[in-house]
């Protein structure tokens, strides 16, 4: 056995948890290696002191203080019921799936199975102007947003780039 192997196994050797064959190998190495024998004695001696050290005791009022702290601590956390949690999870998942299904059913066109999809271009209707009466604008705009003053100046805006017909109809002309 080499010193490296001895040192690697030294923990088990001290604690007597190695196999009988390994323990014998370790003892044989100790008999022939002064360096490892010194290390072994040094460690055993130091551990003897540590393992026989007296324990420190808690203070006399330890339990009284703990009782006081427990009274002020939050109540014990409720135990989660595994079956209730699984049932809740299943119900939520089912509800979500149903919502997605119905949303898709009402928003998409159903085609007969096997019908190839065709691409069509929908006709876009002309954009109708928004009703721009002063009273409607003032009522529609939330208070605090300074948009409505600009509406009074609509009539003064240059119209050469705008659709004159649409503008006239929106202003009631």
């Amino acid at each position: 056995m080499k010193c490296r192997e001895f040192k690697a196994n030294h923990v088990g050797f001290i604690d007597d948890v190695l196999s009988a064959a390994d323990m014998a190998d370790m003892r044989r190495h100790l008999a022939v290696c002064a360096s490892c024998a010194t290390l072994d004695i040094r460690i055993r001696r130091s551990l003897l002191i540590v393992r026989n050290l007296p324990q420190i005791e808690p203070s006399a009022d330890f339990y009284a203080r703990l009782s006081e702290a427990l009274k002020q601590a939050p109540a014990p956390a409720p135990k989660r019921q595994p079956f209730a949690a699984a049932a809740t999870f299943a119900a939520v998942t089912a509800a979500l799936a149903a919502a997605v299904y119905f949303a898709m059913a009402f928003t998409t066109d159903r085609e007969a199975p096997g019908t190839p999809a065709t691409v069509t271009t929908a006709e876009v209707a002309p954009i109708a102007p928004l009703p721009m009466t002063d009273a409607a604008i003032a009522a529609a705009v939330p208070a605090g947003i300074p948009v409505w003053p600009a509406m009074f100046m609509v009539g003064d805006l240059p119209t050469q780039l705008a659709n004159a017909e649409l503008l006239d109809s929106s202003l009631g002309r």
Binding site: L47, V50, L66
Partner: protein, 211 residues
């Protein structure tokens, strides 16, 4: 005769505390969860000294160690319903203690003031008169014991944190390698490696003082 039989019978009826003491940890936990508050006191009595020594030797501050042990028991009290009773209560309690001790050391390394106060409180122990410690020992024995304890405490404190925890759990708390692995969230190989280095380092540090 009936009276004698009654007296004999009542002499052997164990008190609730005696019944609790006769139970193993799992039995005491069951009693507590069954509604017996005194069972919690039994758990505290079983583990307060061991946890105090473990945390004290990990963080080096006796006063703070007691605060942390209190915190351990508060957490045990609050979460015992969720404790997996197929596992050992001891390992669970030590894991909580280990995590609190690690957090304490982490917080100290970020706050120099806390570190200074810790060093001061450790040194104040020297001012405590010897005669209150042990009335049966001779004064020179008491001095030697205190000196040895301080020496060991200082040497343990000098170990790197990872090595120190494993060393304390093994040498002072008598935990198995498997328990240490569970408490410190390491594998067995790491536990043995750290323990090996800790023992070597401990012996190297303390040996000059023993001569």
């Amino acid at each position: 005769m009936a009276e004698a039989a009654y007296k004999q019978k009542s002499a052997f009826v164990p008190t609730t505390r005696e019944k609790l003491r006769a139970l193993d940890d799992a039995g005491v936990v069951e009693s507590f969860l069954g509604g017996d508050e005194r069972a919690f006191q039994e758990l505290v009595e079983r583990y307060q000294t061991r946890l105090l020594n473990f945390i004290y030797r990990t963080i080096g501050d006796r006063e703070r160690a007691e605060d942390l042990v209190q915190e351990v028991f508060i957490r045990v009290y609050r979460h015992l319903h969720r404790f997996d009773r197929s596992k050992k209560f001891s390992t669970w309690a030590y894991t909580i203690a280990s995590n609190l001790a690690k957090n304490e050391l982490r917080n100290r390394s970020r706050n120099p003031l806390v570190l200074f106060q810790t060093m001061r409180s450790s040194n104040e122990e020297d001012d405590r008169p010897l005669q209150f410690e042990d009335h049966t020992s001779r004064p020179d024995d008491m001095y030697r014991k205190r000196h040895l304890r301080q020496l060991v405490d200082q040497t343990v404190a000098a170990l790197p944190e990872h090595h120190r925890q494993v060393f304390v759990l093994r040498e002072l708390e008598g935990k198995s390698y498997e328990e240490i692995a569970e408490i410190t969230h390491c594998n067995l190989g790491t536990v043995k490696s750290r323990l090996n280095r800790a023992r070597t380092a401990f012996a190297a540090i303390i040996e000059p003082a023993l001569v």
